[in-house]
């Protein structure tokens, strides 16, 4: 087996992704439990993991659905929560240029936070071989499989986890960890603080528009505060 074979690249991706599953599996379990808790049918909770396939946005979807939000607002909010994937799409695009359409569609479907994080180093800094897209396929598929299984596990375990363990709090904790990783400049932190401050009163807005309004205010504050950041590194 040559180092550049599709198989070697694919399993290289699998190996790069496995450590990240340590954080993903508990999140999937909790999402399964949470989906049932807000009243979603079990099949819908499991189906959302393959249809939407984006952890934070699925949690938001479940919360909004439980609160009886109008569908257009749900779709818009999920879109905003997943808008950061534009950045990933832009970052991997140059390495996937020239691939057939079926590859582009498959890799776009598999492009999540964790699959991107584990693959971008290989794509950017590794050798520019003909089979390197298999590496992203390996990280993406591993995450996909782990996410489906852990969601299913959460739905099956759902009733068995005692409520007084407060496991739902681990969703906030996952978001806190992701937030710290996404803050690189002072203005990033201001965007987060402003959105957090606005969202609490904004939750009272009709049609559950609060999350969208808060995100918009956070982005605006970040842009305003950008002038106080130090020079670009």
């Amino acid at each position: 087996m040559s180092v550049d074979s599709p198989r070697a690249e694919f399993f290289g991706g699998v190996r790069a992704e496995l450590p990240l599953l340590l954080g993903v599996v508990p999140f999937g379990l909790i999402f399964g439990v949470l989906g049932l808790a807000v009243g979603m049918p079990g099949w819908a909770v499991v189906l959302s993991s393959s249809l939407v396939f984006g952890g934070s946005s699925q949690v938001v979807f479940a919360q909004l659905w439980g609160a009886g939000t109008p569908p257009p607002v749900m779709v818009a909010t999920v879109g905003v929560v997943n808008l950061r994937h534009l950045l990933y799409s832009a970052a991997v695009a140059e390495y996937l240029r020239g691939l057939p359409w079926r590859w582009k569609l498959l890799l776009a479907y598999l492009l999540t936070d964790e699959a991107f994080a584990a693959a971008i180093g290989r794509l950017r800094d590794g050798p520019a071989t003909a089979h390197r897209h298999w590496f992203l396929c390996g990280t993406g598929f591993t995450l996909w499989a782990g996410w489906q299984l852990s969601t299913l596990g959460g739905v099956l375990l759902g009733a068995a986890i005692p409520e007084n363990w407060s496991l739902d709090f681990s969703i906030a904790l996952t978001f806190i960890a992701l937030l710290v990783l996404s803050v690189h400049r002072r203005s990033d932190a201001w965007a987060a603080i402003a959105a957090a401050a606005v969202v609490l009163p904004a939750l009272a807005l009709p049609h559950k528009l609060g999350l969208l309004v808060a995100a918009g205010v956070g982005i605006a504050v970040g842009l305003l505060m950008a002038r106080f950041d130090g020079k670009k590194p």
């Binding site: 954080g23 997943n82 950061r84 479907y109 937030l179 987060a192 609490l200």
Partner: protein, 108 residues
């Protein structure tokens, strides 16, 4: 919401998410390369995460609790500190949950 409406809404959410991920991979050469767009995009992750976190900490059972006897507030601060020190998702979850359990026992 009916089963059909739930399915359709979920499918629409999936389609929007897929198109966002496909955007530059498939249509990169047609998309505008405007620095103002990337400037807006870079604030999406911190803003949306801030807006997702605050209700999880302060809204308990549908009502606001920002008082110092809210154990989630202190557990979140512990998690924030651990996240900054370790930059590890798993360590953040472990420290935050441990802090919450200790505080819930203590604050009653």
């Amino acid at each position: 919401m009916s089963t059909t409406a739930l399915l359709l809404t979920m499918a629409a959410c999936g389609l929007v998410t897929f198109l966002i991920r496909l955007s530059f991979i498939a249509f990169g050469h047609h998309l505008p390369d405007d620095p103002r767009i990337s400037a807006v995009l870079r604030y999406v992750p911190p803003a949306i995460l801030g807006a997702l976190i605050a209700p999880e900490i302060f809204m308990i059972g549908g009502s606001l609790n920002a008082a110092p006897d809210n154990p989630r507030l202190w557990a979140a601060l512990v998690a924030l500190l651990v996240a900054r020190l370790t930059r590890s998702v798993l360590a953040t979850i472990a420290a935050g949950m441990a802090a919450l359990w200790v505080l819930q026992g203590w604050l009653g």
